[in-house]
Structure formats: C-alpha cells, structure tokens
C-alpha cells in the first residue's frame, strides 16, 4: 500500500523550477519536500511549480510543507503554483482555503505556459 516516495526536478529554466512529487506526501516525507524546494529557491529558482500528479495521499503535514514553501518562495520574490492536483488533494485544498492562494493548473506544462508559474496572489 505504501508507495515509495519520490521527489524529482524534471525542469528548471531561469527562475523557474518544476518539482514533481509522487507517493504519500505526509509527516514522514514532507520535510524532504520542503528541504528540496528550499534548495531550489536558494539556487535561484524561486518560481516553483509543484507537479502533484503522482501524489497518492496528502495529510496536514503535506499541506504544511506547501504553505512553508509558498512563504519561502514569496520571501524570495517568487511564487508557488500547483499542477495536476489529484481529486482528493483538490478537495483538501478547497476545504482549507489554500486554493485561494495557490494557483492550480491541469499540468506542469500548462503551469509553465500560464505566465511562467508566476502569480500575483
């Protein structure tokens, strides 16, 4: 039942980076996601697109990581956009009101096309 969790960075371009997650995004894996994202921000890619297509489960720690990454990106004059959000995670983002702050796109490509992942939120 437990899928191996993966973090990939399939694309970087200027200030942009796509961080793709797959598996269970929870209390055990969230710290690694946060750390990897902060590395990308520190390395000059503050405009992040989180590709969530492969996320099978996300709990409050996962949401916590997204909020933390969003804040750090904003502090670095960047942004965080979400792509390919699974249904259940979408409901969670809606219940928590996070969808108001984190723009969603059907796919990572769409996010990149939609203004380089940058948001004015």
């Amino acid at each position: 039942m437990t899928d191996a969790f993966h973090i990939d960075v399939p694309h970087t371009d200027g200030t942009l980076a796509v961080i793709a997650l797959s598996g269970e995004f929870d209390i055990t894996t969230a710290p690694a996601v946060r750390a990897r994202a902060l590395e990308l921000i520190a390395a000059g890619h503050p405009d992040l697109v989180a590709d969530l297509a492969g996320v099978t489960f996300c709990d409050s720690s996962g949401l916590g990581a997204l909020v933390g990454i969003w804040r750090c990106a904003k502090d670095a004059d960047g942004s965080l956009a979400l792509a390919a959000i699974p249904d259940r995670l979408g409901r969670l983002l809606s219940v928590t009101g996070m969808d108001t702050f984190l723009p969603a796109h059907p796919s990572a490509d769409a996010a990149l096309a939609a203004g380089q992942g940058r948001t004015t939120a």
């Binding site: 949401l63 916590g64 928590t96 009101g97 996070m98």
Partner: protein
C-alpha cells in the same frame, strides 16, 4: 634521583634476582658481606644483602656507597682505616669494623647512577683489575634486571591504564543508559501532564444541551495536536471550538496551548466566530517561535432560541465540515454537512478570510465536530473512512441523535478499524434533547489513549439530570 624514582625500585620487597647477585659477589670475592644498594636522597637502601641480614638501609655517610655512586668507575678501598674519608664511616668505625670495601656503580643506559653493587670484608685486602671488572659486570647485571623490571612495569601499567579507561567507559555508558531511562520516564510523565493541561478534564454543564466528547492520542508518547473546548461567553451564550494543529509532538502542543488560550480570550472580547478565528490567525502569524505552524479549526457560538433549541453560528478555518443531524419523519436521520465557503487554514496566510454559517439546532437535533483522525482512519481494506464513510455511518444510525450515544457509537466505529497508523482523534458532539425525551443531561465521555484508565466504551461519564 628522578632516575631512581623512574625505576620505582625503592622499598620494594626482596627479589631473588638481586639476592643472587649479592650472593654471587660474596662467593666470587670470598667476602662475608655483599650488597646491592640504591642511593636515595637521604639514605642508602639495601635492595639485596648477603651476610648482612636485617639491615635495610643506612645513612648517606661519605666514604663508602655514598662516594662510590658518585663515580662511573669501580671504587676499591683496600684498607678503610688508611682512607681519610672512609675511616670515619659508621660501618668502619662502628661495630661492623669494615676494613675492605669495593663497589661498582649501577649505571643506566642513559648514564644515571642509581646505586652500587658492594663487597665488604673485615680484613684489608687487594683486588685485581679483573676483579674490578667482574664487580662492574655484576652492577651491569643489576642494571639489566632493573631495565627488564621497568619495561615489565610499563607493560603492566599500560594494561592497568587500558583497563581503567575501559572500565570508566563502561561506567559512563551505564550511567548514560540509566540517565536516558530516567529522562524517558520523566518526559513521558511530562507529556502526560502537559496533555492533561491541554485537554479539558470535563465539559461544562450547559442548560438545555447535551454535550459529549472523545479524545485519543496516537500514542502515549505523543502530545496531541487536536483540541476542543466549550465555555460560557455572556448573556446565556456559549462558545465552543474544535481543531487540529498541523504536526505532532511538543511543538504542536505549544501551538495547541496558544490556540486554546487565544480563542477563549478572543471570544470574551468579540464573540463573533469569524472575529475569533481572525484573532487566532493574527496570533499564530505573530508568534515567531511558531514558525510555519498553523491549524484548522471550527469555532461556534450558541445562542439559546425561544423553542428550547439554539441558534448556532459556525465559522470554519480550513476544517472539515461539521455534521448537522436531524431525525426525519420516517425514523431515519438526515445528515447535512455544514460548510462555510471560504474558510482558510488558520495561521498560514496573513490575508486569510474566514466564513461563517448560521443554523438552527432544534430540539431532537445534534451536531458532530471531529478532526481528520476520524475521516483519515483506515478501514480494514486499507482505504480511508473519508467523508462518505462517515456520512454513511451517521445516516445509518438509529434515529436518536443524543450527543452521548453519538460519541459512543463513533468511538465504537473507530474501534472496529485496524489500529495501524492511527492519528490523534478529537470528537465533540452537541445535541438538544427532544421535549418528550428523558431529562436533558450532560454527558462527558472523555477517552484518552494516554490515560491508563482509557477504555473505549466507558472512559469518564457524568450524566447530570
């Protein structure tokens, strides 16, 4: 003198090797007395004696040993009485009446003279060059013996040192282990105490309302991040809240405390549920130590209504919906999710907005609040119970929506689920007794996995008429 100390030979017990050297010297020189001496600061100590039993040391009077140790070559005094210095030595002038004295210094490899090998006679005599050389050889034998002893001593001391280091290490490890054990016990006790301060011991008695709750942490070691409270506001109004701090452990617990006190304080200033959540949002964002900690919460205000029920204003901050349960005419239960569109996580965004909804809790109806430990609990087939599982369960219960029964049944449902990866769970139910029902009461059903008395079906229960 330092060299003498280094060999650590002074005042050691008699040793066969040195005794044999003394005996050999006496036999070779055909003298009655032979000795091996070590010269100390203030005395001449006899390491071995032959023909002089019972004497262990003498003073450093000049003329004999004390003089012989000052030169690298053997000392020979054929007749002590004609030697200007030796003649007054106590051994010569005293009862022993030594007339002949010869000695060779014991010289270490690095040139220190530690003592002498001596031969003494009561008659004057001459010895040859070869005899002097023999005496020097005997002194060298003693020297070799001392070197051997010293190296053995070094080995033994190194071994003793090693054993002591090992023993110290074992002792330190044992002490560390015991300390860790004590710390663990203390921490568990502390967590348990902290938890008791975080969880209200009992719900208050609210006139016209039945209340029940359940609280269970994932493990006794964990301080939970779930919280709830019910308290009076003013003019017969009551406030309640339930929520979940993101994360676990001590850090989450500190946010839980901050959250509870902030909500209680905020409600006293402005009982409006949306204002209370806004105040909490500001407090969590201001608290630097809290960092990126945030929570989800539902805050409600109860205003007594003329029909015996309550007007409930519910504001939600990113929390799963509460369920409003009302009996239907056909004996079933209508389950309605109370959603307030637009409520966001509390403490995550400075710009967060909170929304509220008002509902009427009529006599016979109930309201269930819960944390995601309930909806994210895994069923036997590995799926989460989820909203649908919970609503199905609530709809299939018998028509009674009393808070106590509701909590008992929900806890029973949790108990049927596998115990793996269980998260914290907090449940709070409110119900208005139907007019024709048994007298209204307050049911407090507090369960805690951390409490030794935890019993899923009993816990603590007070029913007050």
């Amino acid at each position: 003198m330092a060299a003498v100390r280094r060999y650590d030979i002074l005042d050691t017990p008699p040793d066969g090797a040195y005794d044999r050297v003394a005996a050999l010297a006496a036999r070779l020189f055909e003298v009655p007395v032979a000795t091996v001496t070590i010269v100390d600061e203030d005395r001449i100590w006899f390491k071995a004696t032959h023909g002089l039993e019972g004497v262990t040391e003498i003073g450093r009077d000049p003329g004999l040993c004390a003089s012989a140790v000052l030169t690298d070559d053997p000392t020979v005094i054929p007749d002590t009485l004609v030697d200007p210095i030796a003649c007054s030595n106590p051994l010569v002038a005293g009862p022993m009446g030594v007339r002949f004295y010869a000695a060779a210094p014991i010289i270490t490899a690095d040139g220190y003279r530690l003592g002498t090998v001596n031969v003494l006679d009561t008659r004057p005599r001459e010895i040859s060059e070869a005899d002097s050389a023999t005496l020097a050889d005997l002194a060298a034998v003693v020297r070799d013996q001392l070197e051997l002893r010293l190296s053995a001593l070094h080995v033994v001391r190194a071994e003793q040192e090693r054993r002591k280091v090992e023993q110290d290490k074992r002792q330190a490890e044992e002490e560390a282990r015991q300390r860790a054990e004590r710390d663990k016990t203390a921490i568990a006790a502390f967590a348990s105490t902290l938890q008791r301060t975080l969880v209200p011991p009992a719900l208050p008695a609210v006139p016209g309302l039945e209340l029940a709750c359940h609280y269970q942490t994932a493990s006794p070691q964990e301080v939970g991040g779930d919280f709830y409270d019910v308290f009076p506001v003013d003019g017969g109004r009551w406030a309640f809240f339930l929520g979940d701090v993101c994360g676990k452990g001590a850090e989450a617990a500190s946010v839980t405390s901050l959250t509870r006190y902030t909500l209680r304080a905020a409600a006293l200033v402005d009982a409006d549920p949306t204002a209370a959540l806004k105040a909490l949002n500001t407090a969590l964002l201001l608290d630097a130590a809290v960092g990126t900690r945030f929570c989800t919460a539902i805050f409600g205000l109860l205003d007594p209504a003329p029909d015996g029920g309550f007007t409930v204003t519910l504001a939600t901050g990113g929390h799963p919906p509460a369920y409003h349960l009302s009996p239907t005419e056909d004996g079933g239960v209508r389950v309605e999710a109370v959603r307030a569109k637009g409520g966001m996580l509390v403490g995550a965004f400075a710009e967060a907005a909170f929304a509220s909804r008002t509902l009427h809790l009529a006599p016979g109806q109930g309201l269930l609040l819960y944390t995601d430990g309930l909806t994210e609990a895994r069923t036997a087939d590995g799926d989460m119970l989820a909203d649908t599982g919970l609503t199905d369960f609530l709809a299939q219960r018998s028509a009674t929506v009393g808070a106590g029964r509701l909590i008992d049944d929900t806890v029973a449902l949790l108990d049927t689920l596998p115990d793996t990866e269980r998260d914290d769970v907090a449940l709070l139910a409110l119900s208005v007794p139907a007019p024709d029902a048994a007298p209204a009461g307050i049911t407090t059903t507090a369960h805690s996995a951390a409490a030794p008395t935890a019993d899923a079906s009993v816990g603590q229960e007070n029913r007050r008429p």
